[in-house]
C-alpha cells in the first residue's frame, strides 16, 4: 500500500475538497469575516511620493458619523520593528512600522487609519482627513529611463572562469540591454486583516489573507513583544497571493494597534488602489546581457548584470540572475545584481521573482544569438544543454528539458516554421513562431504536521501552511488517503493556523515538496500508534506484532482478518491516536541539484495594418517531477502562461515621471489579460517523478509556467516583424514602429 512509486490516489485527477465550500460561499475569506462588536478601519494614503507630512487636520473627519478614532503618527503606539530575518522566520514585507515618522517615501504610504462603525463611514471620514505636505524635489519615479548604478548586492553574484576575456575573444557576440516595467500582483483578494485581542489585551488573534501564518505570527510577536503562544494568525482561505502575501505589511500592524487601543475587533480591507500602491509590486529591472559564442553556437561566455528597484523603506532584492548560472553549459560566466531605491511602495516577490525577469533577458538574447548564427533556436539550446548543474557541479536529480523541447516542438508544429522573418502570412496577419526554455528552482523547507486517527472513522491532518487557492488542502488529503486507503470524504484537513505544527510559506513553489513528506510522516506515526494499540493488550490483533499488519482501505489486516481503524480504536475504548511528522531537506541537497524545466512554443499573429498583436497559441511541456493532482498542476501552468502574456504585452505600473505618483492603480487602467486574450493553450506535464528530491517525486509547479512566456512572445514577434523587442511590456507604440 505505502508504495509511493506506484500510488493510487497521488497523481490522480482529484476534485478540490474545498471546492464545495468555495462555490457555496461558505469558505470565509478574511474580508468577509465578522466578529462581535467589530469596527472597520480605512487607511488614509499619502497623496505625494516624496516629502514630509506637515500637518493632519482631523476635526472634520473626527466629527463624521460613526467615527470612533483616528490613528496617526501623533498618537500611535510605540512598537518594535521585526528583526526581519528569513532565517528566523520573522521576515516582513516592509520593515518600517506604520506612522513611524512624518517622512513620506512613497505615494500611498499610510498617514492615518480612520476607524468607524461601518466600512462606508470609515471611508467617508478618511476622505475628509486633510493632510498637508511639504513635497521634496528629487523623487525617483522609476529605475527606467535612468542610468543610476545603484547598490551592489554581492550575495547575489556568481562567477566562474574568465568571462570578460572569453567574451572579448568570442567570434560571435550579443551585447544587449533589456528593460521590464514594474508590475502589480493583482491577486483577486485584497490584503485584509481582522485583529482581535483577548484576555484584557494579553492575547492577539489575527485573521489575515497571508501566504505565511507562521511568519506573520513570529513577526507580530517581535513587534508587539508577545510570546508566540499569545498570538495566533489564521488564514483558512486565500483569494491567491502571488508573493505579495508572503510577508506581513504595515496595515496589519496598524489594525492590531487600533484593536488594542479600542478594545474591540477591527477589520481593514485595503481598497484596490491602496493594494496596488502599498501592497507590493514586481520591481522594474534593467538587465545587461553579453553572450559570447563560437560559430558552432557553443557559449563561451555569459555575463548577466541586473539592477532592480527597491523602496526607500526596505531593501528588496529581485535577483534576476539567479537561474542564469545553471541554465546553460558555459565555462565562463558572471552574474551581478544591484538595487536602486525609488519612491515606490516596497516591491516584494511576485510569482517566479527575479528569475522570470532574468529568463526574459537571457532567452531573448539566446534568440538573438540564434538569429546571428542562422541556427534554429531549439538547436542552439540543445547545443548548450547543461547535463549537470554548471553552478554547483552536481548532477541534476532529474532533468528532462530535452524531452520538453522535443515534445512541445512536435505538438506545436515547429518544423513548419519558415525561419525567414515575416514569411508566414494569413490574410492581414503575419504569423510569428517563437520559443523559449524555462526553469524554476526546486526548494524545500522544514515542515511539521499532526495527524489524528479517530474512532468516528475520520482522520484529521493539521499543518501550519496555507492553501492560497492552488489546491494544498486537496493534496494533503490525497496523501493521507494514499497512506491509509481511507476515502477523501473521511479526511479532515486543517491548514492556515499558526497554532498548528509549523508549516512552510506558500511560496517559491515549495509548499508541495515541503508539506507532503511531513504529512506522510505524521500519518505513518499515527498508524504505528494504532498498530501498537491493535497488537497490545485487548487489541483487535492482540498477540501479533505490528509488522504482521497491513494497512489498507481504512483498516488493518492480517491475512483474511480485517478491522477498520475505527473498530481498532473502539475495541480499546480510545477516541483517537495521534501522529507527529517533522521533515526537512537532508543529505540529498549535497548530492544533487534540483530544478524544474520546461519549454514554451508560441504563435503570435501580428496585423501590421492595425498594429495589433495577439497570442494565438501556446504549446508547453513541463518537467516538474510528479504532479500530485494533475488538473491543479496544469491549472498553475496555464495561469502562469496567461500571466506571461500580461507581462509580455500589457502590464505596467505607471508612475508619474514628475513626482513618482502611481497613476494607474485600478484594474481598468492597469491592463492585464482578459479571457479574450487567453489563447489556445496546450500544456503537457511530463511524468518523471523526482524521487531524489522527496518520496513523492514532486518538485512544485506554481511558478515555472510563467517563466519563459514573455521571451517566447518577443521571439515570435521578431520572427513575424524583424523587430527585436527588448523592453516589456511590448506596447502598441513599440509595435507601430515595426509596421
Amino acid at each position: 500500500m505505502n508504495d509511493l512509486t506506484r500510488p493510487r490516489v497521488i497523481g490522480q485527477r482529484t476534485p478540490r475538497i474545498d471546492g464545495e465550500f468555495k462555490l457555496t460561499g461558505r469558505a470565509g475569506y478574511t474580508g468577509e469575516l465578522h466578529a462581535e462588536g467589530m469596527l472597520y478601519g480605512y487607511p488614509v494614503p499619502a497623496t505625494i511620493a516624496h516629502g514630509k507630512l506637515e500637518a493632519l487636520e482631523l476635526d472634520e473627519a473626527q466629527a463624521m458619523p460613526g467615527v470612533v478614532d483616528i490613528f496617526h503618527h501623533g498618537n500611535f503606539d510605540t512598537l518594535h520593528r521585526s528583526p526581519n530575518s528569513m532565517g528566523h522566520g520573522d521576515q516582513v514585507s516592509e520593515v518600517r512600522l506604520p506612522f513611524e515618522d512624518e517622512t513620506i517615501h512613497y505615494h500611498g504610504q499610510y498617514v492615518a487609519l480612520v476607524v468607524a462603525k461601518t466600512f462606508e463611514q470609515a471611508r467617508a471620514a478618511a476622505y475628509r482627513v486633510v493632510a498637508r505636505y511639504r513635497q521634496a524635489s528629487g523623487a525617483v519615479p522609476s529605475l527606467l529611463g535612468r542610468d543610476d548604478e545603484g547598490l551592489p548586492i554581492e550575495s547575489e553574484g556568481s562567477s566562474r572562469g574568465d568571462p570578460e576575456a572569453a567574451f572579448s575573444g568570442a567570434p560571435v557576440k550579443i551585447d544587449r540591454t533589456y528593460h521590464i516595467a514594474a508590475e502589480s500582483h493583482l491577486q483577486m483578494e485584497m490584503h485584509a486583516t481582522l485583529a482581535e485581542w483577548h484576555d484584557g489585551g494579553r492575547r492577539l488573534v489575527v485573521h489575515e489573507s497571508t501566504q505565511g501564518v507562521v511568519y506573520q505570527r513570529n513577526a507580530m510577536a517581535r513587534i508587539f513583544d508577545l510570546a508566540q503562544e499569545d498570538l495566533e494568525v489564521i488564514s483558512h482561505y486565500i483569494g491567491s497571493g502571488f508573493g505579495n502575501k508572503l510577508f506581513m505589511w504595515p496595515h496589519a500592524v496598524a489594525t492590531a494597534v487600533a484593536a488594542r487601543r479600542l478594545q474591540r475587533p477591527v477589520k481593514v480591507v485595503l481598497p484596490r488602489q491602496q493594494d496596488m500602491m502599498s501592497g507590493g509590486n514586481r520591481p522594474a529591472s534593467r538587465q545587461h546581457i553579453r553572450l559570447g559564442a563560437g560559430r558552432d553556437g557553443r557559449l563561451t561566455s555569459v555575463i548577466h548584470d541586473s539592477i532592480t528597484e527597491t523602496s526607500l523603506v526596505d531593501r528588496y532584492i529581485d535577483s534576476c540572475g539567479s537561474a542564469t548560472p545553471s541554465f546553460y553549459a558555459c565555462d565562463n560566466l558572471a552574474v551581478s545584481q544591484r538595487i536602486l531605491p525609488v519612491n515606490h511602495g516596497t516591491p516584494c516577490p511576485m510569482r517566479a521573482p527575479g528569475e522570470v525577469s532574468g529568463i526574459f533577458a537571457l532567452e531573448t538574447a539566446m534568440d538573438e544569438l540564434a538569429v546571428e548564427l542562422k541556427m534554429d533556436p531549439v538547436e542552439l539550446r540543445l547545443r548548450n544543454y547543461a547535463e549537470s548543474d554548471p553552478e554547483s557541479g552536481l548532477p541534476w536529480s532529474s532533468k528532462q528539458l530535452d524531452k520538453c523541447l522535443q515534445s512541445a516542438a512536435e505538438r506545436f508544429g515547429w518544423d513548419k516554421r519558415n525561419p525567414e522573418v515575416g514569411s508566414m502570412r494569413d490574410g492581414d496577419e503575419i504569423i510569428g513562431y517563437g520559443m523559449a526554455s524555462c526553469t524554476w528552482f526546486a526548494g524545500r523547507q522544514p515542515c511539521q504536521a499532526r495527524v489524528e486517527l479517530r474512532a468516528d472513522g475520520s482522520l484529521f491532518v493539521g499543518c501550519g501552511t496555507q492553501d492560497i487557492g492552488t489546491g494544498t488542502y486537496t493534496i494533503v488529503a490525497q496523501t493521507a488517503a494514499e497512506l491509509t486507503g481511507m476515502p477523501l470524504a473521511d479526511i479532515e484537513v486543517k491548514l492556515g493556523e499558526s497554532g498548528l505544527p509549523s508549516g512552510p510559506l506558500s511560496g517559491g513553489s515549495m509548499a508541495t515538496a515541503s508539506t507532503l513528506p511531513a504529512v506522510a510522516a505524521a500519518v505513518r506515526d499515527a498508524l504505528d500508534a494504532l498498530k501498537e494499540v491493535a497488537t497490545g493488550n485487548g487489541g483487535a490483533f492482540e498477540g501479533l506484532s505490528a509488522d504482521d499488519l497491513e494497512v489498507g482501505q481504512g483498516g488493518l489486516s492480517h491475512g483474511e482478518h480485517r478491522v477498520s481503524f475505527a473498530e481498532v480504536l473502539k475495541t480499546n475504548k480510545l477516541a483517537s491516536v495521534n501522529g507527529q511528522g517533522s521533515t526537512a531537506p537532508g543529505a540529498e541537497q549535497n548530492a544533487y541539484s534540483f530544478r524544474s524545466f520546461g519549454a514554451h512554443f508560441v504563435e503570435v499573429r501580428f496585423d501590421p495594418g492595425i498594429s495589433r498583436v495577439r497570442v494565438a497559441r501556446v504549446v508547453s511541456s513541463m518537467d516538474i517531477g510528479r504532479a500530485i493532482n494533475p488538473p491543479a498542476a496544469r491549472n498553475q501552468v496555464e495561469g502562469g502562461i496567461i500571466m506571461g502574456i500580461g507581462m509580455g504585452l500589457f502590464e505596467q505600473l505607471e508612475y508619474d515621471p514628475r513626482d513618482a505618483r502611481l497613476i494607474n492603480s485600478n484594474v481598468a487602467d492597469y491592463i492585464l489579460p482578459t479571457h479574450a486574450d487567453a489563447p489556445e493553450i496546450d500544456v503537457e506535464l511530463l511524468d518523471y517523478p523526482d524521487f531524489e528530491f522527496n518520496e513523492f517525486g514532486a518538485r512544485g509547479v506554481g511558478e515555472i509556467g510563467l517563466t519563459g512566456v514573455a521571451p517566447a512572445i518577443s521571439n515570435a514577434l521578431y520572427h513575424a516583424t524583424g523587430k527585436r523587442h527588448r523592453d516589456l511590456p511590448i506596447t502598441i507604440e513599440a509595435l507601430l514602429a515595426s509596421s
Binding site: T47, P65, E120, R123, A124, Y127, G609, I610, S611, R612, R614, L649, F650, E654, D656, P657, R658, R661, I663, N664, A668, D669, I671, L672, P673, T674, H675, A676, D677, T731, I732, E733, L736
Partner: protein, 336 residues
Amino acid sequence: MRAFAYSRADSVDHAAHRITHDAAFVAGGTTLLDLIKLDVLKPKNVVDINALPLKRVERLDDGRLRIGALVTNTDLAHHPEVKRHYPLLSQALLAGASTQLRNMATTAGNVMQRTRCPYYRDAAAACNRREPGSGCDARGGLNRLNAVLGGSDACVAVHPSDMCVAMAAIGATLTLSSADGEREVAFGDFHRLPGDTPHIEHDLADGELITAITLEPPLAPAGSYYLKLRDRASYEFALASAAAQLSLDGEMIGEARVALGGVGTKPWRCPDAEAALVGQPAQIATFERAAEIALRDATPLEHNAFKIPLARQSIVRALREATRLARDEGKQEGQV
C-alpha cells in the same frame, strides 16, 4: 465617498425639477457611483430616474429611430431595428465595457459618461475639468490616453465612449426636457470642446434631462464598420477607434461618414475626410488620403503621438471593411 440624499423621480417633470447644480441623475450608475466613490463627483442629491418611461426604441414615420434615454446598452445593441439598420451602432456598443456594465449602462448615461483621464479621476491631481482653474496635470504628465484632437491648454481629456462615435457617424438629435418644455440639439453640438472651460462638458442646462436620442435614417445600401484598437482584446477603452459608413455607386463611393473615438476631446466626426471620399474610387489609396486629412490637425503630447498613426490605421481598415460589406450588401440587394 460622501453622503448624499437619494430620491426616485416618477415623472420627467419631476426629475427635471429636482436637478440643480449640486444634484445628479442616476441611471445605470456605472459612471456616477464610480466617480462618487473616488470623491471626484460630489452631488448632494442623487435623483434616480430608472422609473421613468424612457425605455422604448421606436421607428418614426420619417424613417428615423428614436431611442429612449433609459434603454440599456445591451438592449440597444441587440434590438432588431438596430441590428438590421444600424449595425455600426450595435458593433460600437458591443465593443464597449463588459457585458455586466452594458446591462446596467443606459443610452443617456453613455452620452454623459466622463473622461478616463487618470488625473481627472484622481482627486489629488490638478484638473481643470474637475476643479476649474486648478491646472492640468495631464499635459506634462503621463498622457498616453489623452487626446490628439480638440485639446486646449486647459484640457486634453478624451471622451471615451464607443457608442457616441457610432452616433456621431450616423447623425442624431438629442431631446432635452425641462420644466420649460422640450428642445432638440444636434448630436455633434452636444459635447463641447474644452477650450478655457473644460468643466462645461456638454450642452445640458441645470434642470434638463435627456429623454431620447433620435438617429438619422440609415444610409442604404451601405456598409459600415466599427473598429476599436486597444492594447488587449476586450474590456478596455479605445486607444483609437473608427466608425465608418459608406454607400457605393459602382466602384465609386457615394456617401461616406467617418467618426473617431479614443483620440478626441469629444466624439469626433471627420467631415473633411468624408468629403475626400465622396465620388472617389473605393480603394486603399482613397482611404489613406481620407485618413491623412482626418488627422491633419492632430497635435501629439509627449506619450500619445502613436495615436495619430493608429487612428489613421483604424480609419483605413474600417473603410476597407465597410466597403467590403457595402459590396456584399449591394449584391444582396441585386438578388432581391
